[in-house]
């Protein structure tokens, strides 16, 4: 298993954001983490990215407990825009390239060209959609073993979402990168997901292979999502 999560719990003042979450992800798989707002998806991603500490439980990436060592192999795209607004696009990418081994600046340029992002504009002036695209550039510019994408399609125009995500996964993915993605837009990524976890109120309520779940439930992942959301 590339990622192994064992009984993770996270308590915030007055609420358990995660309440006993366990799962494993094999190398090269694409896992979808689906659930409504407040299900605990973002907290789970932050713990896997090692920027939030679990209250209980353990999580490992490539056999190592999550920490600054595992950040070397993990690309984390948070739901928010994490970039410095006063930096220009290329400055930000050059800054990040210093930290991550194997960063391919030519690939960054290709991605920016594909996603129509200018390299000399200040990030603060980019639209929400362009900032979301810039996060994608970061994720696919270096050979991260694990890519954590928390709502990666937020802000991107609906007609472009499907084309972008399919092209990225088809052409720009580094070999067998393992991808864990959370999204509300299940229909946009349904074809790409190999395994799925459905979360509700900090717990996993359903998990398994996407094909198997579709077969068992007799409906699409969107249908299952709507059924669980109630």
């Amino acid at each position: 298993m590339l990622v192994q999560v064992n009984d993770i719990r996270k308590k915030y003042p007055g609420i358990w954001a995660l309440n006993g979450v366990s799962f494993g992800v094999e190398k090269g798989k694409v896992l979808g983490v689906l659930g409504e707002n407040g299900a605990g998806k973002s907290t789970l991603f932050r713990i896997l990215a090692s920027i939030t500490r679990p209250t209980n439980g353990t999580a490992t990436v490539m056999g190592k407990p999550v920490g600054y060592e595992t950040r070397k192999v993990t690309a984390f795209l948070p739901e928010v825009n994490p970039f410095y607004g006063w930096m220009r696009v290329m400055e930000q990418l050059e800054f990040l390239a210093e930290f991550y081994p194997g960063w391919d600046m030519d690939k960054s340029r290709e991605l920016m060209s594909f996603l129509s992002i200018e390299d000399n504009v200040k990030i603060g002036t980019l639209s929400k959609g362009q900032q979301a695209k810039l996060k994608i550039v970061f994720a696919f510019s270096w050979p991260a073993e694990l890519v954590l994408m928390d709502e990666p399609l937020g802000g991107i125009d609906p007609p472009a979402r499907n084309r972008i995500i399919n092209t990225l996964f088809g052409e720009f993915r580094f070999g067998e990168q393992t991808i864990i993605m959370s999204t509300h837009m299940v229909s946009e990524v349904e074809e790409l997901l190999e395994d799925v976890i459905y979360m509700k109120k900090g717990k996993i309520v359903l998990s398994g292979s996407a094909d198997k779940l579709r077969e068992e439930k007799g409906t699409s992942l969107v249908g299952i999502f709507e059924e669980i959301a109630g």
């Binding site: 932050r46 600054y68 950040r71 948070p78």
Partner: protein, 252 residues
């Protein structure tokens, strides 16, 4: 977060004001008293000293600002996900601010090199210098160049611990930060500062008024040097405690 940041800025301003009130009102009282004897030279010296000390507070302000602005802009997501220990980020920011502090110190050194000449030219003493000009000059250099280094480290230490506490907590951040801020300031103001004031009083009164008592001056210099060493070490200890809090508890 913006409110929290603004609140700590207000605390910082109060801290600056109170310490300046404690040190410089007494200092100015002496200065004004001495001014009747020595003219405006002493007054100008007092004003430059006040500016020098006040400008110290820029540095903890910059440190606090750099952290709170990361949280406000959500760039802490990027910072914490970089493949480095959490304390590396806070150490980098501290190093950047202290580097500015060194530049500030060098600026004052350059200014202080000319200050005495400027004051003597435009606001000459009514009396000539005393029998121990070398001792006096050495003390002035020491006082102006190095004494504020200790104060700078203490202020940065307080800022480091307060920021570390706020980063480490998810609840009662404002209360905890304020309590720690006030407690550390109480130690600084009520334990360390009175000692500082007494030293200054002694130095100013005896060094300016009675140059003949050189043996007494020497003991004052030694006490003053010890005091500055305590300030510096306390500041470094506080800074490292802040680093520990970051490494152990900080998260997004």
């Amino acid at each position: 977060m913006k409110k929290l940041y603004k609140f700590f800025l207000v605390l910082l301003a109060i801290q600056a004001g109170y310490i300046i009130y404690l040190i410089d009102t007494q200092f100015f009282h002496i200065i004004f008293t001495e001014s009747t004897i020595y003219g405006r030279n002493s007054l100008v010296f007092g004003i430059t000293r006040l500016i020098r000390y006040t400008s110290l507070f820029i540095f903890p302000f910059l440190f606090l600002y750099s952290w709170f602005s990361e949280e406000t802009a959500r760039t802490n997501y990027q910072l914490y996900s970089l493949p480095r220990r959490n304390s590396v980020h806070v150490k980098s920011k501290m190093a950047a601010v202290l580097t500015l502090g060194v530049i500030w110190l060098i600026g004052w050194m350059i200014f202080a090199s000319f200050e005495g000449v400027i004051r003597s030219t435009y606001f000459p003493y009514r009396y000539s210098s005393g029998p121990i000009p070398l001792m006096q000059h050495l003390y002035n250099i020491y006082n102006r160049y190095f004494q504020n280094v200790g104060n700078l480290f203490v202020l940065m230490g307080i800022a480091s611990i307060v920021t570390g506490c706020v980063q480490a907590l998810k609840r009662y951040r404002l209360v905890a930060g304020t309590v720690v801020f006030i407690a550390l300031n109480a130690v600084y103001i009520f334990v360390i500062t009175p000692f500082l004031i007494r030293t200054y009083e002694a130095v100013i009164i005896y060094a300016i008024r009675d140059f003949a008592q050189s043996h007494f001056l020497l003991s004052i210099y030694l006490i003053s040097a010890m005091h500055d060493a305590v300030l510096l070490l306390s500041g470094i200890a506080c800074i490292y405690l802040g680093f520990y809090l970051f490494e152990r508890f900080s998260e997004v």
